[in-house]
Amino acid sequence: MANKETDNDLSALDHEKQSNIIRKTLVTKLIAFIQLYAIYIIIFGELGPGGGFQGGVILGSSIIIYILIFGLEDGRKRISQKTSDLFSSTGALIYAGVGLLAIFFGGHFLQYGAFPLGGSDVANHYGIMAVEIGIGITVAATMIILFCEMIGRD
């Protein structure tokens, strides 16, 4: 009985493997483009529509797609629980850090204009970019955490 089941399983696995090859190859190629697009959205959010949050969600989704196709264990090899936890904190820390840095340079909290980067608009531009990157990191990491904890079995 047990043998029969394993046989069935094996043939099923074989079939799985073949269709998996297509899916896996497609996904590995696709993910690079998705991530590129995500980074584009994060960085150029100030020129066109988009920004840290939207880009972060897309970046997180790229990993989620990887996990969907390759399974949780393989996915966690790419980005471990520890890493995603760490990044989730780091992004928000970057944001708060930029704010505190502004105090350090003599401005108010989050006053990017205080950065000694030339004019106030240039400083603002870089300040906004920095916090958008921070948002993107936190959001992407949190999306991965949410998904992994939701599908995780007890």
Binding site: L47, G48, P49, G51, F53, L146, E149, M150, D154
Partner: protein, 120 residues
């Protein structure tokens, strides 16, 4: 009268959607249905905010020269934040539902209340 109704049609629609979502939240016994209702309820409020921002003849709020008329960007900013809050609430609600299911083996509120009637 007809003109009055048409002049604000977005607002009427948002009220209808909000009522549908709110009804699901308070009347459904299934916890997932409650979360679905909550999402609909919240997005309807977002629709209200975005409708406020609309300006006739205005363009998308991305710089296109000083003469252009822009749509009011402030409600968009508020709703971006509110959407994030919305999805966060949904995620925490999911975690709670999974915990409840682990404990009781069902996600029907009525059935759970029946089970714990005799707990203190």
């Amino acid at each position: 009268m007809m003109e009055f109704i048409l002049a604000k049609y977005n607002y009427w629609i948002y009220v209808i959607i909000m009522m549908i979502g709110f009804y699901a939240v308070i009347s459904k016994s299934n916890l997932i249905k409650k979360i679905i209702g909550l999402s609909i309820f919240q997005t309807s409020v977002f629709l209200l905010f975005i409708s406020i921002g609309k300006v006739d003849g205005g363009t998308v709020p991305i710089y296109q020269g000083t003469e252009a008329v822009y749509i009011n960007p402030l409600p968009h900013v508020l709703i971006l934040t509110a959407i994030v809050v919305g999805v966060s609430v949904t995620a925490v609600a999911f975690a709670l539902v999974v915990n409840i299911y682990r404990e009781f083996g069902t996600i029907e509120e009525n059935a759970i209340l029946e089970m714990i009637k005799h707990d203190d």
